[in-house]
Symmetry: C2
Subunit: 371 residues, 2 copies
């Protein structure tokens, strides 16, 4: 496999040196930052996050900060889900659409103060999008990327680690998607009960990038009794549990309803957001649209490096966007983006996987639910 | 060095398989697309582009297409340089600013028709920026990323290759930054006399991504008599010749004047663009601003993977953003972003290069000129 090159155009995370010392074997680039994607033992890392506790450098999950008198107006304008009623100290998963109604990111929005928000983004440059909308619309806000770098602690033993780090009172009072600013031995951070797995845990939003090594070491030390080790967001775990990977599962023309996020947008709300009208038009006849579905994959599956064309009776019906071996089901599974007419459970689809022919079968578990 | 991982979140170029077959050894990710950055022989690749001819997969230089009745209005609004007088069939280097007056990209703008533009972008997501500005401003345009993937032919023998591919008439009539739509054995493309080197050549903007291998093979075949081989945009060549690398040489707060692009923006024009007023305010007192300067670097230089802090008398004065060995000068050189007061030729700066201490000396050649 070719190397990744390190240069100053792409940023290093505050945890970069720590991850290198811990033996990271592969990176991707995400929001113009190097992000670890493997420490060389996919099944071991899967087991650890499912049964123990894992620590992840997810600093590449950058924040778009919106602050000022119009901050909530702008945050709502760019979010397809109601945010105006979100309390300070809470977070909400809030997909973003462009003017065509297509999904352009699916961040978690954190309300830090009445007039201060973070959008904790997936891999697309929402800083420019929000700044372009806010500037052109004449809104009274500042939009910028703050010095904030999440470190995730994920897995069923995450709370044990957090009790040592932050004490029982904090852990017991921190509900799902609640967040709070704390200091850990002089390291400032916002702790949020969130993270890109379904195994529980928190994200520590470090707010001083010069202290990455200190935070990493502190977490590693507190987690040692519970067998903590470095890991990364995990393809097997997230596909088994219906977590969307924006840009991986979706293409440039996917809208949130197609992506299975219909429950996380408010088309019928009494407020406007960018893309709302376009979405209503797109789904005036739902039968004409697509759906992201779970599929099983039978046949000799090569390593999935890119979407594969899906066909029924020789006619293209979209793509298997991504695929993986599922330890839980002990078989290969994937996510296919296909017309609604082909989305029914049991539908069989031919997949051209780089020369190998696979048979995909639509599962009866809708995307978003655990397999 | 860690591997790069291949997955469907990041796109493969239409030339991806060809570059793998040709032995690419390292990739980066640029505009959410894998981009080759080395075939394992930096000095050989440097020599080839300086004295012969090289072919580069630069499909990651994506296009933002702006089309419709307000296309020229929008193209001008997002560009700090006059575009309204650009003829169809011509291109112009046109830096882009945000509302703070900071550089957010430095594309070449190609005018394809009166009301149709491509912004051929560096590594930041200008599709969302332009779409956000156009949509919020209510302009009558479509903004999208077309199926366009540049393949560059660069070097003093590039014209010889193009004569075989396209004939003498086209080569002789194609002036610098001129472009023309042509078909090459059924492969549709726009040829433009441009490219990210100072060694001459063209970029072939392939307009059907399914034909990447065909175009690659055709160029390789025509170039064989001239010793063509795969290469990549080259750090040594571009620093020796004052070509800006957006995001590498600049930080999030760099404006185009600081970046040495003052000649490529129109602050005194009779038209408005985003960031113009902010830029005027920023440079009301130029002494308070920074400047990107060429420096020589003395001392044992480690591989430059990220910006290094620059100091004078122990006080931080900015950063050496990037550095390289220069074969032409047979010494190490770099680009430093420092206060104007420290930008005078001969100024000596201490550089903390990952533990090694280097001495940077500001050169008398301003950035933008060949060393």
């Amino acid at each position: 496999m070719p190397e990744i090159v390190f240069g100053s155009r792409v940023r290093k995370s505050p945890y970069f040196n720590a991850t290198m010392a811990a033996g990271v074997t592969a990176f991707t680039i995400y929001n113009q930052m190097y992000m670890p994607v493997s420490y060389g033992d996919p099944l071991g890392e899967y087991e650890r996050v499912k049964t123990g506790v894992s620590m992840w450098d997810v600093a590449a999950e950058r924040q778009v900060e919106i602050i000022g008198p119009d901050a909530t107006v702008v945050a709502q304008l760019v979010s397809a889900r109601r945010l105006t009623d979100l309390k300070v100290g809470r977070a909400r998963y809030a997909p973003m659409c462009d003017y065509r109604g297509c999904l352009i990111n699916d961040p978690i929005a954190l309300r830090l103060a009445e007039d201060r928000w973070w959008l904790s983004i997936a891999d697309s440059d929402m800083l420019h999008w929000v700044a372009g909308v806010a500037g052109t619309g004449g809104y009274d806000v500042d939009v910028f990327e703050p010095d904030v770098s999440p470190l995730a602690i994920q897995g069923p033993r995450a709370d044990d680690v957090c009790r040592i780090l932050f004490g029982d009172e904090l852990v017991d009072s921190l509900g799902f998607f609640h967040h709070r600013a704390v200091e850990l031995d002089g390291v400032p951070l916002v702790i949020c009960r969130s993270g890109w797995s379904r195994q529980g845990g928190v994200e520590l939003f470090l707010t001083d990038g010069s202290l990455g090594q200190a935070l990493w070491d502190r977490v590693a030390e507190a987690g040692a009794p519970f067998g903590i080790a470095p890991g990364t967001p995990h393809q097997m775990e997230r596909i088994e549990n219906g977590l969307l990977s924006y840009g991986s599962d979706t293409d440039a023309d996917t809208d949130p309803i197609e992506a299975g996020l219909g429950d996380f947008i408010n088309l019928d709300g009494d407020f406007d957001f960018i893309g709302k009208q376009a979405l209503i038009v797109r789904h005036a006849d739902p039968a004409t649209r697509r759906r992201l579905v779970n599929v099983t994959l039978d046949g000799e599956m090569p390593a999935p490096q890119h979407p594969w064309e899906a066909r029924i009776d020789g006619t293209s019906v979209g793509e298997v966007r991504t695929a993986t071996y599922s330890p839980k089901l002990d078989r290969n599974v994937g996510l296919a983006l296909v017309p609604v007419a082909c989305a029914e459970a049991g539908t069989q689809i031919d997949v051209d996987a780089d020369g190998a022919t696979l048979t995909a079968t639509v599962m009866d578990v809708p995307f978003g639910t655990s397999l």
